[in-house]
């Protein structure tokens, strides 16, 4: 649940499209074209060597220097040539399959007491940046790829990218939620649902009803993380049933642990209470008398 991560700008990607030329860094705001040099780069996306693929990728998309404390940089996704968009989406799809295959091989190796093959940090960073780049395209054609398990599980950056498609994709996602009963899908889709709902763009009554049912059900999930994302959805809905359930969580959610200072902590109760407070209460202390 990201009660503090609501501003779309907060997750604007720190990437900029560059042309596939030597002076790319100086051409940061230009619209890319699928010219001949870019075509060569795109062909390298099909290399069997990830070094070649990542090198080609970084010729098209590169991170910018952070302005401390952290970056919220431009996303030129809408200016990207459709050929390059498609190539980036296909590249992510390919890499997602590579990650999934590596994971299977990893588990086989562990089971066989062999040393598993892992990514280098550079490869992981390439994977992260590629995820970010495709998520930032805000291109509906990327939805299928973003929903692949190895992608959607890659972080809030990816679930938020899906949520950015907004209300129009909800019927499809709800259907997917119902068709994929595995916990993995449910957990991540619940995060997406809550994120979309918080945008305030969902007005369709039947969709709202379906989401309410999902959040209420998930709010009783045995997994505390799932309950937390359901809580975010209920707070966004905030009708009488949702409110009642949030109050219930605030008073009796069972998850607790003793922190390193020996204090019993109830993180979900605290979050629910905090969110209720912000939804329901006027400021806690009176303002000074106006002069």
């Amino acid at each position: 649940m990201n009660i503090g991560k609501l501003s779309p700008l907060a997750t604007t990607i720190a990437l900029v499209l560059c042309l596939g030329t030597a002076d790319a860094a100086q051409e940061q705001t230009k619209t890319a074209g699928a010219d001949a040099s870019n075509q060569t780069i795109l062909e390298q996306f099909h290399s069997s060597d990830w070094h070649v693929r990542s090198s080609a990728f970084y010729k098209l998309v590169r991170p910018l220097e952070d302005e401390p404390p952290n970056a919220a940089k431009l996303n030129h996704g809408k200016q990207i040539d459709p050929t390059i968009r498609n190539a980036l989406i296909s590249l992510l799809s390919f890499e997602a399959d590579v990650v999934a295959a590596k994971e299977r091989a990893f588990e086989d190796a562990i089971a066989a007491h062999r040393s598993p093959d892992v990514m280098s940090e550079e490869q992981s960073e390439y994977w992260a940046t590629l995820n970010q780049a495709v998520g930032g395209l805000n291109d509906p054609r990327a939805l299928d790829v973003l929903l692949k398990p190895s992608v959607i599980s890659g972080g809030y950056n990816n679930t938020h990218a899906i949520a950015q498609f907004g209300a129009p994709v909800l019927p499809r996602l709800i259907l997917l939620y119902r068709m994929r009963p595995d916990k993995f899908s449910r957990d991540y889709l619940t995060v997406v649902f809550a994120d979309i709902l918080r945008s305030g763009t969902v007005t369709d009554e039947s969709t709202l009803k379906a989401l309410k049912e999902i959040f209420l059900t998930r709010s009783y999930d045995s997994d505390r993380g799932t309950r937390l994302s359901a809580l975010a959805g209920l707070i966004a809905l905030f009708d009488s049933d949702s409110k009642a359930r949030v109050r219930e969580i605030a008073s009796s959610d069972p998850y607790t642990f003793v922190n390193p200072r020996g204090q019993a902590v109830f993180p979900l109760r605290e979050q629910a209470e905090l969110l209720l407070h912000h939804r329901e209460l006027p400021p806690a202390s009176p303002l000074p008398t106006p002069r």
């Binding site: 503090g4 609501l6 604007t12 401390p68 404390p69 918080r198 998850y255 922190n259 912000h278």
Partner: protein, 318 residues
């Protein structure tokens, strides 16, 4: 009270549109304002325009945990309101000495009453939280108006620090890291409720680190490392790698722009080395808003879980 006036000539205007704090710019009173942290624990913001300004030193006492109060409250006895001119007011706050979240109040703890017409009894409440979360206004507060801030001015002076930071800072250029920190970005003391500074600065031979708020901020933010470890529960998972200086990052084969050098990444130990535990941490990390969680086949393998908040708002801890 020691309040320095804003002197833009000496300050770097980052023009961050407050996205850094999660502040929405969608609803704007049209009040050009600058938040200016001035001296140490003092923060001053200037609001310009034809409105009366009242400070409201509201924390959320009694609502959340003790940590919450410690982190965000400002000391009401130390706050002042004064007029610079009929159209500009200055409100200054001082944190409680125990507070460590330098800017948290901007997004979460501060409420400002704006009364556009001093003769009117209605006061529109604006709180940092609502500014950050404009989709969740106070119920029944029809007059609620959030405001936006047009720019941020932070004193980020380039220059020598007179200590080992003068060795750390050039490393960023030496290794072509996409970050140019200055002295005031580093901390020697920042910690979270769970992790000490040394935990977060593990393996760094220097006593300074860059640590951003997603790493040290309290659970009430609703995201970040503290939220994650609270969700994971016991046993508390040690940090395998936190802040890395560029030298150390290169020594261990870190990525050329590893987020560990930006102060918003940690590798949490996977205690059991099982995929079950790893997957649980990963799932909870997304609930805690981690922007990136490495796959199981990432560099950590089954030994740890890399999580970072690379796109998340939050300054460097002082």
């Amino acid at each position: 009270m020691s309040v320095l006036p804003a002197t833009p000539a000496n300050l770097l205007d980052l023009q961050m549109q407050y996205a850094q704090y999660g502040v929405s710019t969608q609803e704007n009173l049209g009040v050009p304002s600058n938040f200016v942290p001035v001296v140490d624990t003092w923060f001053t913001f200037y609001l310009s325009g034809n409105q009366d300004v009242y400070g409201n030193y509201r924390g959320y006492s009694g609502v959340a945990s003790a940590d919450f109060d410690m982190q965000i409250d400002v000391d009401p006895t130390e706050g002042t309101i004064s007029y610079v001119s009929p159209t500009q007011s200055v409100v200054s706050f001082k944190k409680y000495p125990s507070a460590s979240a330098q800017f948290a109040f901007i997004s979460y703890g501060l409420a400002i009453g704006l009364n556009n017409d001093p003769t009117s009894p209605s006061i529109e409440y604006v709180s940092g939280f609502n500014v950050a979360a404009d989709s969740m206004p106070y119920a029944g507060s029809a007059a609620l108006t959030t405001f936006s801030v047009s720019s941020l001015i932070i004193n980020r002076v380039q220059g020598t620090c007179g200590d080992t930071r003068d060795k750390l800072i050039p490393m960023y250029a030496q290794y072509n890291v996409l970050l140019s920190p200055v002295c005031s970005d580093f901390t020697q003391t920042a910690s979270s409720s769970t992790y000490s500074f040394n935990d977060l600065n593990i393996h760094n031979t220097y006593a300074f680190a860059l640590l951003r708020y997603p790493i040290i901020g309290p659970q009430f933010m609703g995201y970040g490392l503290e939220m994650l470890v609270n969700l994971i529960g016991t046993p508390v998972h040690a940090i395998n790698s936190g802040y890395r200086n560029p030298d150390h990052n290169a020594d261990i084969g870190g990525a050329s722009n590893s987020r560990h050098m930006f102060g918003d990444a940690v590798d949490l130990v996977n205690i059991t080395h099982t995929k079950t535990e790893w997957a649980q941490i990963r799932n909870l990390a997304i609930q805690a808003g981690a922007d990136y969680v490495e796959p199981f086949t990432g560099p950590c393998g089954n030994a740890c879980v890399h999580v970072d908040w690379r796109n998340t708002t939050g300054l460097y801890a002082p």
